[in-house]
Amino acid sequence: MAEKVLMKGNEAIAEAAIQAGCRHYFGYPITPQTEIAAYMAKRMPKIGGTFLQAESEIAAINMVYGVASAGKRVMTSSSSPGISLKSEGLSYLAGADLPALVVNAQRGGPGLGGIQPSQSDYFQATRGGGHGDYHMIVLAPSSVQEMAQLTIRGFELADEYRMTAMILADGTIGQMMEPVSFDFEIKEAPAKPWATTGTKMARPHNVINSLYLNAELLEKTNIERYQKYALIEEKEALAEEYMVEDADIIIAAFGIAARVSKNAVNEARASGIKAGLIRPITLWPFPKAVFAKHADHAKQIISVELSMGQMIEDVQLATQCKVPVSLCYRVGGMIPTPDQVYQAIVEANEKGGK
């Protein structure tokens, strides 16, 4: 598929997963990500894969646990309320150190909320979601092309670090149609000597489990897992920096909010304000170093979010409160307009500062 195709963000995720070698998809339909399941339902039977509509989200995530244990690339997808249902399974995946890809096309909440886009599952995603000490790698695409690209990257990272990678998208990027090129170099999945593939009487049993009867051993496992997390924080944090080198006002925004913000930054630059954008592509690990680097010259950072202010806390931590951080937001399925963000930039430029 060298020629570009026109796809919805959700379809791009599904196609990218197939190209990454994923042959097992389990899910339960929920707007606004049902196209992922629909695409898998059409394609998987034709390529010898498995599409299974589970009886619930909880069933689906446990099927993911099963296939991951057998060492195969596997995924599930849902939207906010469905991810809450899956969060027990996410914790079990972490406890058993299993690689998997999970997609959350966020919608407005809490509760059943609405079906319009949102970014209010940021805390849930970046802090793990389920119970216990753990993290997921969280990737935040802001275009249909990136939906595809980060899905492939997600499978690679999941395998490399034996953990869950989550695509934290939103209803708009899932639904919008854009041209996509599938010109990717895809790394083969690494060998998985830990997988439960049958001993063939040639090796000891592999056991996949998250239950520890010995507290000392459980403590040791947790500590080792956090040593792995430290390595990931050091190596894998990723952000796009857009006109930040000389910026007085820096916007922090990811996903759909970053697209809107980029327009506002361009408008601000055109009217003589030195504005820039830092767009975290990995939300966990959070690109702390990028923010720290620019904290000295910025007068103010504005966190633009489709939430009541969640990522703003990571921005404050990353900049160690060296620079004031304000919030510009819409919630409930509403999206900030470029003009709203532009006005926030103008205001920050006039009043803000250290």
Binding site: M1, E3, K4, V5, L6, M7, K8, E11, E15, T31, P32, E35, A38, Y39, K42, R43, G108, G113, G114, I115, Q116, G171, T172, Q175, M176, M177, E178, P179, I256, R259, V260, N263, G333, I335
Partner: protein, 221 residues
Amino acid sequence: MNYKRITLLAGHYGSGKTNIAVNMALELKKLHENTAIADLDIVNPYFRTLDSKNELEAAGIRLIVSPYANSSLDIPALPQDMYAIVDDESMYSIIDVGGDDRGALALGRLSRMISDENNYDMFLVINRYRPLTPDAQSVQEVLQEIEEAGRLKFTGIINNSNLGAETDAECILNSVKFAEEVSQLTGLPVVLTSVEEKFMDELSGKIDNLFPMKLQKRPVD
């Protein structure tokens, strides 16, 4: 174009039916005072004819839509006044059918009445740049699934091949052969090639039966 009393647009999910429907309704209104546009989409709660409500209403076009379209109530509801399409024989209408066979299912309620009256066209909207319909064979599969679910036969093809914001004249020209192949395999004529109006100068004379369109506003650039 020579419109029959009822014009139905069906096709693969995301092939561009709604954009064509809105533009056709605006053209149809100039030919027939009593014109309506009906949204029978029971699949997709987003990107509906309702997005063009103001423009359609300003033109005096009747909108037949589910009261829940574009709301957070994501249910496969049909408009309560949809029987006006078949009951009011003085009314001309464009019907925007939902994508794929699942979307066309709703058509089954009206198909008997539409085929009995036999004053309709049903056009298959195709876009070769959609990943699941890149060739004539895959389009024919979709066509058969829709005809089975909707219980109505297609009468023609609209080639709406485009790459979204990256569409150029060449991309449209490169789809002509594809449309002809679909036509040959299905025995249906290519009645229109729908293009954004800015391509009209470049393409006129090169492609027959061009249909210029203004595109619906998108929520984010």
